[in-house]
């Protein structure tokens, strides 16, 4: 495997316990362990994280932007939001 074959890894970082891992960026590395070490060195130099996930970019399946109408269905369903319902003020906070 030459340098050209080093896969691209997507890096996800949990900034502190209790929070989700969040996409931080990407980098190339020869394997997962080295990807984690590199991610520590570039993405957590200022205590940005307590946990790192790396996943090979090619293993991510993604929706495509042309399928924009994929999310259409949710737009019309306003009754899924609490503001859809009128509750008299006398009832108090709900």
């Amino acid at each position: 495997m030459s340098k050209q074959d080093w896969p691209l890894w997507e890096v996800f970082i949990r900034s502190k316990s209790g929070l989700h891992h969040k996409h931080a960026g990407s980098l190339h590395a020869a394997d997962a362990e080295m990807a984690i070490e590199n991610a520590r060195d570039v993405y957590t130099r200022r205590n940005e994280g307590v946990s790192i996930w790396v996943v090979e970019s090619t293993n991510i399946a993604a929706s495509s932007p042309e399928e924009g109408d994929m999310f259409e269905g949710a737009k019309s369903k306003i009754y899924r939001h609490p503001t859809f319902y009128d509750i008299p003020d006398e009832v108090g906070h709900m």
């Binding site: 080093w6 960026g25 980098l27």
Partner: protein, 322 residues
């Protein structure tokens, strides 16, 4: 794709830009937008990487362990900035190896400022204060650029840059409270870095060829001259605080404009450095090439180690099955 279809896509694209909707890697974009971004982002990445060289020059000669640690941390940040930006460029469909190749073969440009030498310790302060300071002006604008991955890289970079500028200014502040000789060093560094820093913003708006389209696509949001003026306005009072004289006898506060007026920039010098004839162009590329060549064994070792680890894991798994 026929012409009317393409026209349609371009109109939709511009409408998105106008509505401040970010463009993401898989979205349709005009070929010229893609090419402009690859050129700009990779130039930016190369600048971060080459920018490590003038500072690296002083690492082993930093006057104290504290200053050495600070400088080391700053240089490491710049390497990281290079990585964030290369990654952003890669989302546009160009490979890392191609990008590195373009730098090493001299096909790609990087910021001309790094073709000036760092000849005394005060230069390290001047670089942090002025060069990073000028870069910040540009980068803060770019946190709002229209291409999502570029904007996100910029947010991360801007968070780290502020320390770069402050450590440089504090270094000069310390020296300017020292001996006469140290004060002279500060003024000397300032004299040499002032004009090249103003050139960092690029040609004046009248001469800038890419500007109009880049503004329309919101890759840029402020013109070169606007950014340059903002930099002068912010920096002159800081220079005064250090007790420095700005090397420009036409510099004057303009009450009416509410800005500083400043003298003409030597564009012949600018273009000559861009074209490869600055004091350090050749030296910088040679140093990059050397670092790349001498790092080959590290890349090979990492590859070999990954291979070994993979095999071991496979063996372990097969014995477990048996």
């Amino acid at each position: 794709m026929d012409n009317s279809n393409l026209h349609n896509l371009e109109e939709k694209f511009q409408a998105k830009i106008d509505a401040e909707i970010k463009i993401e890697p898989k979205d349709w974009m005009p070929e010229k937008y893609r090419k402009t971004l690859i050129r700009q982002i990779s130039q930016h990445a190369h600048s971060e990487v080459v920018g490590m060289l003038p500072e690296g020059n002083w690492l082993t000669r930093a006057p104290s362990l504290n200053r050495k640690l600070i400088l080391l941390a700053k240089i490491q940040d710049e390497g990281g900035h290079g990585l964030y930006l290369y990654s952003a460029a890669e989302t546009l469909g160009i490979s890392r190896d191609e990008l590195v190749d373009q730098l090493l073969t001299g096909k790609a440009k990087y910021s001309s400022i790094f073709n000036y030498p760092s000849i005394n310790w005060a230069d390290i302060g001047a670089i942090g204060w002025l060069v990073d300071g000028a870069a910040i002006m540009n980068q803060v604008m770019l946190t709002r650029t229209s291409y999502g991955p570029y904007a996100r890289a910029m947010v991360r970079i801007c968070k780290e840059e502020s320390f770069h500028q402050r450590q440089g200014y504090e270094l000069l502040l310390t020296m300017s409270q020292g001996t006469d000789e140290q004060k002279e060093m500060v003024q000397d560094a300032f004299n040499r870095w002032w004009w090249p820093s103003l050139m960092m913003f690029g040609p004046s708006d009248k001469e800038s060829t890419h500007s109009a389209q880049s503004m329309k696509w919101k890759i840029k949001r402020k013109s070169n001259d606007e950014l340059r003026q903002a930099f002068v306005d912010a920096t002159v009072p800081q220079a005064e605080f250090l007790g420095l004289t700005v090397p420009d006898d036409q510099l004057k506060w303009n009450e009416e404009r509410n800005h500083y007026d400043f003298g003409p920039i030597d564009w012949d010098e600018f273009w000559s450095v861009v074209k490869g004839n600055g004091p350090c162009n050749r030296e910088r590329l040679k140093a990059r090439q050397k670092a790349h060549d001498e790092g080959a064994w590290v890349r090979e070792a990492a590859t070999a180690y990954a291979e070994k680890r993979r095999k071991r894991k496979a063996e372990k798994e097969s014995t477990q099955v048996a």
